[in-house]
Structure formats: structure tokens, C-alpha cells
């Protein structure tokens, strides 16, 4: 077994580490602790947080990748499978390997379509693993529960890494534009108005098309197909980040403009504190609640966007298991007679729970951190 660290894995764990570190730091600062305590008192918010924690746990287990060792080659050199698996695959080994021939209903004992059996009669053939598929199997006989669990990681990555990628740019440019003013402000404003005026979907489509050309013309960059899919996922996050940093940047610029005129900033200026130190020590901590709210509010929208983009064909790699690709392959199944509903239903339920939890948690965080909400 050889561990494989994909770039997205690295970033995902970095993100979890940052969240934990941020939590420890926040617990030492009095006013932050008060705000988080308020989140903790929100029952809906905390239930949502518990659900989200389960999803993130699944995503984290699914981010520990490895390549299985194959029987040694005659020369004695170790060889590894080209298939990249994750710890979740190992845990769900029975689900992953116990495939059927084609569709089967949830917890069914027989296949969904009639076939000619050995004794030349037409009937529903028995399943290889009857009663084990809680959510049924899809067209190629894969377990639907396994597919939905694997989709979670993709959704979480899109929802979190996009914000992570766009955050530095939005923070830096927003604070700079608000604090420096003058031509710097003009340039930054021009930059985000221009980017903002391009319709998001089209910019993403154009960028994904271009990225596709780059990936297709450089097949030698990637050792395995998992790495290629991973590169595409990260590029998608980056593109989504480029289209979504403008909103936060504008908010931060406005807030900085306000803060700049306050007495404590003027006092710091009068004492000769340098501009960068003022931004870092005095302004940044006072806009962090906006950043915090933006991160949690954007998350659910990004998870939803992933499904739509993958459906349109400009989302993740078609081989990456995600809610979007699942819906895309399953959408014609409702038109079958009798219809196949379980793939869509499973994707719907899991996505709905994830997004609903994200929305409720985001509301709790906003209520606790937004000073205008404090009534």
C-alpha cells in the first residue's frame, strides 16, 4: 500500500487544521468566545453543526488516499494499482465491490429488469447480494449509497476550497482599497466591477473550456486519472473563487472605509503606526465577522452550484463522483417505465440534508456575529 496525497486532500486537511486552530484561538479571545457561545445556544444551529460534523468526517475519511500494492513483478520491484482508493473505500469495501448487473430497487432481492434465465423462462433474476443495497443500484449495478457517500467529499471540497482560495485576494484587495483610497481604490474597484459584470456561469464555462484544453494537451502532467480529476476539481474551485471574491471584497472595502475614520485608527495614525500595522492590528480583527459570515453563507450556495455546473457539463470531471454527475446520469431514469427513482431520491436527500444544515448553521453564525442582529 502506498499513500497518495492529492492536492485537494492536502488543502482539505489544511483547512480542517486551520478551523481547529482558529477555534482554539477564538476560545482565548473574550468577545469571540461570547459570540461563539451565542452560536452554541442556538439549538437549530447546533443540531445543524452536528450534522455538518458528520459530513465533514465522511469527507475527511474519504480524503485519505492510497494505491493498493499489486503482486510483485518478476524483477522484485513493488508495483501499485493505478486505481487510487480512499480510506472510505476501504471501510465500505462490501458496498464498493458487491455490484450487480444493472438496476435493482432498494433492498430488493431480484433485479429490476426481466431477463432470460437458464431454463429459458423470462423472469427477474435473483441478485448476487440480495437485500444489501439500501438505496438500490444504478444502471451499471453500483450501490447508490456508496455513490452518495462518495459525492459528499466533492461537495464539501467545492464549498470550502473555493472560499479558501478567494479569501486572501478578497481580504487583501478589500482592505487595501478601503484604507488606501485614491487611485489604488479606483483600480481595485474597476477590477471587481469588470469581473462582476461578466455573467458568472459564462465566465466559469469559458474558463473550464480553456482548462479542459490545457489538461487534454498535457496528458503527461498526471500520473493517474485520479490526479487529473483532482486537478480539474481544484481548477474549478479556483475559477469559482475568481467569480465569487468580488462580493466579499466590496463588503470589506465598505467596512474599511467606515473603520478608517474611527478615533482609534486616527489615534494609531497620530502615534505613527505604519499603514500595514494598522490594517493588520486594528482593521483586520474588526472585519473578521464579515469574513466569518461570508464563509458560512457561501458554502451552501457553492454546494448547490456544483450540482448545476456538473449538470451543464462545466463542473467536475465526469469520472468524479459528485451530486451533479449523479443527477446527470439519473435524470432520464424517471422517464423509464416503470420508473427508477432511487438514485435521484438518494442524491436529493443527502444534498438537501447537507445544504439545509449549512443554511441553518450559517444563520446561527450570522445572528451571533452580525452586530446589526444584536437586538
Amino acid at each position: 500500500m502506498k499513500p497518495v496525497l492529492l492536492w485537494s486532500d492536502l488543502l482539505f486537511f489544511l483547512l480542517i487544521f486551520a478551523a481547529v486552530a482558529g477555534g482554539v484561538w477564538a476560545s482565548r479571545v473574550e468577545h469571540l468566545r461570547a459570540s461563539w457561545r451565542k452560536v452554541g445556544q442556538n439549538r437549530a444551529g447546533m443540531s445543524a453543526a452536528a450534522v455538518l460534523a458528520v459530513f465533514f468526517l465522511i469527507g475527511a475519511v474519504d480524503s485519505l488516499h492510497y494505491r493498493e500494492r499489486l503482486p510483485d513483478a518478476p524483477q522484485g520491484e513493488p508495483r501499485y494499482s493505478v486505481e487510487v482508493l480512499s480510506a472510505l473505500d476501504a471501510l465500505l469495501m462490501p458496498l464498493r465491490t458487491q455490484t450487480e448487473k444493472t438496476y435493482s430497487a432498494p433492498l430488493a432481492t431480484h433485479l429490476f429488469a426481466k431477463e432470460t434465465l437458464d431454463d429459458a423462462s423470462r423472469d427477474f433474476p435473483p441478485l448476487r447480494h440480495p437485500g444489501t443495497h439500501w438505496f438500490g443500484t444504478d444502471k451499471v449495478g453500483q450501490d447508490v449509497l456508496y455513490l452518495t457517500l462518495k459525492s459528499i467529499r466533492t461537495g464539501l471540497l467545492i464549498g470550502t476550497l473555493t472560499t479558501l482560495i478567494m479569501l486572501p485576494a478578497a481580504l487583501f484587495l478589500g482592505l487595501l482599497a478601503g484604507y488606501a483610497g485614491g487611485w489604488i481604490d479606483d483600480v481595485i474597484q474597476y477590477l471587481y466591477t469588470t469581473l462582476n459584470s461578466i455573467p458568472g456561469v459564462l465566465l466559469i464555462a469559458a474558463a473550464v473550456l480553456m482548462m479542459q484544453v490545457v489538461i487534454d494537451t498535457h496528458p503527461d502532467w498526471f500520473a493517474t486519472s485520479a490526479e487529473r480529476a483532482d486537478a480539474r476539481l481544484l481548477a474549478l474551485c479556483a475559477i469559482l473563487g475568481i467569480t465569487s471574491w468580488t462580493g466579499l471584497c466590496r463588503l470589506l472595502r465598505g467596512e474599511t472605509l467606515k473603520l478608517r475614520e474611527l478615533e482609534y485608527v486616527q489615534a494609531a495614525q497620530a502615534l505613527g503606526v505604519s499603514g500595514l500595522t494598522i490594517l493588520w492590528r486594528h482593521i483586520l480583527p474588526n472585519v473578521m465577522h464579515i469574513v466569518m459570515i461570508a464563509i458560512v453563507m457561501d458554502f451552501s450556495g457553492l454546494v448547490l452550484a456544483e450540482a448545476v455546473l456538473s449538470y451543464v457539463g462545466i463542473g467536475v470531471d465526469p469520472n468524479t463522483i459528485s451530486f451533479g454527475t449523479m443527477i446527470n446520469t439519473a435524470r432520464m431514469e424517471l422517464a423509464r417505465e416503470p420508473m427508477v427513482w432511487w438514485s435521484l431520491a438518494a442524491a436529493f436527500v443527502f444534498m438537501f440534508v447537507l445544504v439545509l444544515a449549512a443554511n441553518l448553521f450559517a444563520d446561527a453564525v450570522r445572528d451571533a456575529f452580525d452586530p446589526r442582529m444584536a437586538r
Partner: protein, 325 residues
């Protein structure tokens, strides 16, 4: 007013140029036309002649910025940048990969797009405001709470499921309207009605919740207290004072999307087979038709800028305190 308009239009120009440069960089600098040709013709086993032919057919064989071999103005004009990007300002979008004129195609497809987008916009706004008003009227009651929960739940459902569910229920189970398709004239109604309902439902959750907070914020104003102190009934305060004042931010906020209605909706049009600009864009994305995508990016940006301008104007129309200078 006129001077303001002219100055705003002049401001819009650099933004449009910026959009143009960004899309140009995206399409021609990140990838050379050779890469695009190889992609279109299949990555493996492409002869250089085939690539050259593809480029000549589409005008990609010229130099990018500066044509040293041409005479006079042709040094600038006979280049990819001028031919593919600058000409867009004159609404000359060139030809799609299937040889059709993009500008003509856009004109043809605008109608079906509007036939869906305009009712969605108007009905959606009306439904969301009415729903928010209902919740505010019964504010701080169980009905209000249940309504907000419903809004959050509706926000959490992917728009894909609204479309798939609507098509399945209304068209397949109830057989009320055709699943997809389009017809000209009045018979378009039976094709348009389902997409409109689905799109309104998909959007109502987030907008109704947003409008509800606007209404509630309006309730904290001093004039509301004054109105109550005068002895006006709660209903009168809500419909005559709060509603009117809250409509200002709601309507001016909605103005920005009016011009982009022309672009149609990608998802709705693709699912319901409506031959509008949205499905045109999706087809272009799937066929990797770069010329069409580029044209749509340009038009979309231009319409958005028009929307911003309209927003500013509408602010002055509804709020006499704001003067445009």
C-alpha cells in the same frame, strides 16, 4: 440628468473593454488557436494541414495583435484581436462553428428566452413579495415561523430537483402540459407555463426570506411609531406605510436583472427544450464552440452594465433625496 447619463455611459466603456480583454486573454493567450484546433479535431492523429485548414476557415491564422505583412491600417485590423474582439463592439460576432451567423441567431432566439424570462421575473417578484407580506402580517406567530422554515427548506433544494420534479409530476403523472418543446405565437403558452411555475418556485424561498427582513427592518423606523401613535390600525400601517417604503429597496434591487432577462436561463431552457439564448449557450458549451461563448460573455456583460445604469436611474425616480450629478 442627460449629462449624468452620458458620463455613466463613458464609465461603462472601460469596463466593457476590460471584459473584452479578459475574455480575449482567456480564449487566445491561455491556449493558442493550435490547441483549440487540436481539441476540436480530436487530440490524437491530427495532421498539421488539418489544423491549418481549421484555423484558416475560422480566421485564427492571423497574427494575434500586429500584422506586419499587411498595409496601413490592416496592420492592426487584420489580426485576431481586432477581428474577434474589437468587432464585437459593433455587434459583429462572426460565425459559429456550424457556419451560422451568431448575430442573426441571437435575434431569432431572443423571443423564446423572453417569453419565459419575463413572466418568471414578474411573477417571481410578485409571489415573493406577497409571501413575505403574509409572513410579516403574521409576524412573531407560528405561521411566520413555519413560513421561514419553509423558505429555508425551499432554499436548500437544488434547482435541478425543482425542474426534474416538476416535469415528472405535471407532465408525466398528471399529463397536463408537454414535457418540453416550444411553439411560436399563442400556442407557446402551454410550453411556457410549466417552466415559469418551476422557476418561480425555485426562486421564491431565498427572495421571500430576504424581503421579509427588509419589511421587518422597515418596522423599526420612526415613522412607523408615529403612524401607530396617530392611532392607525396595524393593517393600515403595514399596507400604506411599511409596504410602500420597503418596496423601494426591493424594486430598485430587482431592476439590475431586467436587461439580463434577454439572456434567458441556462438550466430552464435546456431542460424544457426552449430554443432561446440559454439553450444556445449550453449547446455552444457542450460543442465547445468558442465563438458563441465569447459572444455571449460580451453581450451578458454589456446587459449587466446597462442594468447597473438603470438601477441608478430608478433610485432617483423613487427617492427624491438622491440627485444624480
Amino acid at each position: 440628468m442627460l449629462a449624468y447619463l452620458i458620463r455613466r455611459l463613458l464609465y461603462a466603456l472601460p469596463i466593457l473593454i476590460g471584459v473584452n480583454v479578459i475574455t480575449f486573454a482567456l480564449f487566445f493567450v491561455v491556449n493558442t488557436p493550435d490547441d483549440m484546433a487540436r481539441m476540436q479535431l480530436g487530440v490524437k492523429r491530427v495532421t498539421p494541414e488539418a489544423i491549418e485548414k481549421w484555423k484558416v476557415e475560422r480566421g485564427y491564422d492571423k497574427p494575434v495583435f500586429w500584422n506586419a505583412s499587411a498595409e496601413g491600417a490592416g496592420q492592426v485590423a487584420d489580426t485576431i484581436f481586432f477581428g474577434k474582439s474589437v468587432k464585437m463592439f459593433a455587434l459583429d460576432f462572426g460565425r459559429a462553428d456550424d457556419g451560422r451567423d451568431i448575430a442573426r441567431e441571437i435575434k431569432l432566439r431572443m423571443g423564446p428566452s423572453l417569453a419565459v424570462a419575463v413572466p418568471v421575473f414578474a411573477l417571481g417578484l410578485f409571489a415573493a413579495i406577497s409571501f413575505a407580506l403574509l409572513l410579516v402580517y403574521f409576524r412573531a406567530t407560528t405561521l411566520d415561523f413555519a413560513g421561514v422554515v419553509l423558505c429555508v427548506a425551499m432554499m436548500s433544494v437544488s434547482s435541478l430537483f425543482y425542474i426534474i420534479g416538476g416535469q415528472w409530476l405535471v407532465s408525466k403523472v398528471w399529463h397536463l402540459v408537454p414535457i418540453s418543446g416550444y411553439a411560436e405565437g399563442l400556442s407557446a403558452a402551454k410550453f411556457v407555463i410549466l417552466p415559469v411555475i418551476v422557476a418561480v418556485l425555485a426562486g421564491i424561498g431565498s427572495s421571500a426570506r430576504w424581503y421579509r427582513t427588509i419589511f421587518l427592518e422597515e418596522y423599526t423606523r420612526d415613522y412607523v411609531r408615529t403612524a401607530r401613535a396617530k392611532g392607525l390600525s396595524e393593517r393600515f400601517v403595514l399596507f400604506r406605510h411599511v409596504l410602500r417604503n420597503a418596496l423601494i429597496p426591493i424594486l430598485t434591487g430587482a431592476v439590475v436583472v431586467i436587461p439580463t432577462l434577454f439572456m434567458g436561463s441556462l438550466l430552464i431552457e435546456a431542460f424544457f427544450g426552449i430554443p432561446g439564448l440559454g439553450s444556445y449557450t449550453i449547446d455552444a458549451i457542450n460543442a465547445q464552440d468558442f465563438a458563441v461563448v465569447r459572444a455571449m460573455v460580451f453581450i451578458g456583460s454589456a446587459l449587466y452594465i446597462v442594468g447597473l445604469l438603470l438601477t441608478d436611474i430608478s433610485y432617483t425616480l423613487v427617492d427624491p433625496r438622491i440627485r444624480l450629478q
